[in-house]
């Protein structure tokens, strides 16, 4: 098994697409993070316009972007397994290890670790983002008439307002609150992706299905039947990450963080087992 795990690691790091995926995570985190940080008033419907820049809640908003790494984790998981079929490397791999279940198990293991790395990188990018926001001393003032973004401290006092300025303490508090959940959730989403890939085999179909379900179908189900929605993979990840955001429309119920983790493990393992017993076991012609 150690040989298989080592071979899977080598496979992952000898093609450029892995590096591209990791690069995309950093770019997306920084781009969307900054966009969200300076968007007028944050993005949530209920609190739009009244989240003061520089406040702790504002950091929570900005960092909620970091959980998007799980979408790339899903793609990574799908690529790990469907790539073998797309490039027909399944042939030499199954020649070297005909017990295909062991190959898939190694992929789950290394995929999970790769996802942990991806989530870790995302959190690292988030930390950089947070430190830059602190260094920029982003600030605002909450008065009775509303939030005045960018109002200086002296002017704020003159308006009897509450002054907020981005500081390391708030930033660190929010960052450390969500970091473990995002790292674990990103890791588990790779397993979910491996499961989807094992079941569907076709790379494009698996990616479209995975992203489409997470981004579109889940939010529709979540909006109509919130009690079902909370058990779906995307919502489970949100619960685990505790970013208190919703994916798309509406505001769904949320499982406890460990419930989210359990649901993700169940999705990943069940899909992988079913995929291994059906698709993966079939003839490689």
């Amino acid at each position: 098994m150690i040989r298989l795990l080592s071979a899977e690691t080598r496979k992952l790091w000898t093609i450029w697409s892995t590096y591209v995926l990791f690069g995309i995570v950093v770019v997306v985190d920084l781009l969307f993070g900054f966009a969200l940080a300076f968007a007028p008033g944050g993005r949530r419907g209920g609190t739009a316009g009244i989240v003061p820049h520089g406040s702790e809640l504002w950091f929570a908003n900005v960092f909620s972007v970091l959980g998007n790494s799980r979408l790339l984790a899903l793609v990574l998981g799908v690529l790990i397994i469907t790539g073998e079929y797309r490039h027909r490397t399944a042939t030499p791999v199954f020649l070297a290890e005909p017990r295909r279940g062991r190959v898939v198990t190694a992929k789950l293991g290394i995929g999970f670790l790769g996802g942990i790395a991806l989530g870790g990188l995302s959190m690292l990018a988030g930390l950089v983002l947070g430190l830059v926001l602190v260094a920029l001393k982003v600030h605002s003032c909450l008065t009775f008439s509303g939030v005045q973004q960018g109002m200086a401290q002296a002017a704020c006092r003159a308006h009897n307002g509450v002054y907020f300025v981005a500081n390391t303490h708030d930033m660190w508090h929010q960052w450390s609150r969500i970091a473990p959940g995002i790292v674990l959730g990103t890791g588990l989403f790779v397993i979910y992706g491996v499961g989807l890939g094992a079941l569907l085999k076709n790379q494009v179909v698996a990616i479209v299905t995975g992203l489409g379900f997470t981004l579109v179908v889940e939010s529709i189900i979540g909006a109509i039947w919130p009690t079902i929605g909370e058990y779906l993979p995307g919502q489970a990840a949100t619960a685990l990450e505790d970013t208190k955001t919703t994916v798309g429309i509406g505001h769904a119920e949320q499982l406890p963080w460990w419930g989210g983790a359990v649901m993700l493990v169940i999705y990943g393992v069940v899909l992988t087992v079913v995929g291994t017993l059906t698709t993966i076991r079939s003839d490689v012609t």
Partner: protein, 335 residues
């Protein structure tokens, strides 16, 4: 010393296609064995069943009595060259081999040796996506050889190789078969003239069934020979041969006499003082044997066109010339 043995091996794809039908054969070590048959005869399916990529519908094909899936670390026992694909286009040849070597616990020094052996050392760090067909074929061979297996199985290994490559492969396979007390080398091919130069034993398939198995020499013995003579005096030679009860046919400056040898024809020519510019004899070729066994499907020797393409050939490169409904000519003997 290893053997391959198929017993009642059958593979059905869906309800329509019976790719392999109760196949029994065995392959012994020490010689190169040719695995021959027209397109769609079931060669590739059989080889894929041998290495556990395809599951037989019934029957078995075993390596020293073991199913491939139960062979411990099969990279060290069986090397299979199945297709010139199966590479990630962005991964370098060296890394591709390192992945497989890692799976089998083979030290990386062997990766360099195999790359050297197939002549890919200088291109080893390039992405395989930029490789030619012949280079991919060589890389496949390098991968199959990583574990120095005592069983080597190759499916159409000459595909994409240049003439030097083919000649090199021929010598390599012959050498590999006799090394280390004899190894099993089973090579499928549709290039019969090439196979005739390489193989000693043959297993011939037709429509999923065994058509013949044995030493090529034995299968070809008892076959007819023909003598072809170029002479400016063709008419008189035909008469002289006829007088000696040797029916001959005239073809311009040539006279062709079937079922005889130069040793028989020579004295007649001398006795009749006939001027001769050229005389060649031909024994029956593997090609002719092949057509007689496979019902004349395949190549029309005289015109070099393919006939009788089976529907299972989708995905394979088509032959250079498309079928013309030429007559099957099992007895055609090239000179």
């Amino acid at each position: 010393m290893s053997t391959i043995e198929a017993r009642g091996l059958t593979k059905r794809f869906g309800s329509e296609v019976l790719a392999v039908d109760h196949l029994d054969f065995s392959v012994a070590p020490g010689v190169v064995t040719g695995f021959l048959g027209p397109n769609g005869a079931g060669k590739t399916t059989t080889l894929r069943m041998l290495v556990g990529l395809v599951s037989p519908t019934s029957g078995s094909i075993l390596i020293d009595g073991l199913d491939y899936r139960h062979v411990l670390n099969p990279t060290m026992r069986v090397g299979a060259v199945l297709e010139a694909s199966g590479f990630h286009p962005a991964r370098s040849a060296r890394n591709h081999l390192k992945v497989i070597a890692t799976m089998a616990g083979i030290p990386f020094i062997r990766v360099d040796q195999c790359l050297e052996l197939v002549g890919l050392s200088s291109d080893a760090d390039r992405a395989v996506g930029g490789y030619s067909m012949g280079m991919r074929q060589r890389l496949e061979l390098a991968r199959a050889l990583l574990g120095e297996p005592d069983i080597l199985v190759l499916d159409e290994p000459a595909n994409g190789l240049d003439p030097q490559g083919i000649a090199w492969l021929r010598d390599f396979l012959k050498g590999y078969a006799v090394e280390k007390d004899g190894r099993v080398v089973l090579v499928s091919s549709h290039l019969l003239s090439e196979a005739q130069l390489t193989v000693e034993e043959v297993v011939i398939l037709n429509a999923g069934r065994l058509a013949a198995q044995g030493r090529l020499e034995d299968l070809l013995s008892g076959s007819t020979t023909a003598v072809r003579i170029r002479t400016p005096d063709a008419g008189r030679l035909v008469e002289a041969l006829a007088a000696a009860r040797l029916p001959a046919t005239r073809d311009g400056d040539y006279v062709v006499c079937e079922g005889t040898t130069p040793a028989v024809v020579g004295p007649i020519i001398v006795d009749n003082r006939i001027e001769v510019h050229e005389m060649t004899s031909s024994t029956e070729s593997l090609e002719a044997l092949f057509f007689s066994l496979t019902g004349g499907e395949g190549m029309d020797v005289r015109h070099g066109t393919a006939v009788g393409e089976s529907p299972q050939t989708a995905g394979r490169p088509p032959p250079a010339a498309r079928p013309s409904p030429g007559e099957p000519d099992p007895g055609a003997s090239p000179t």
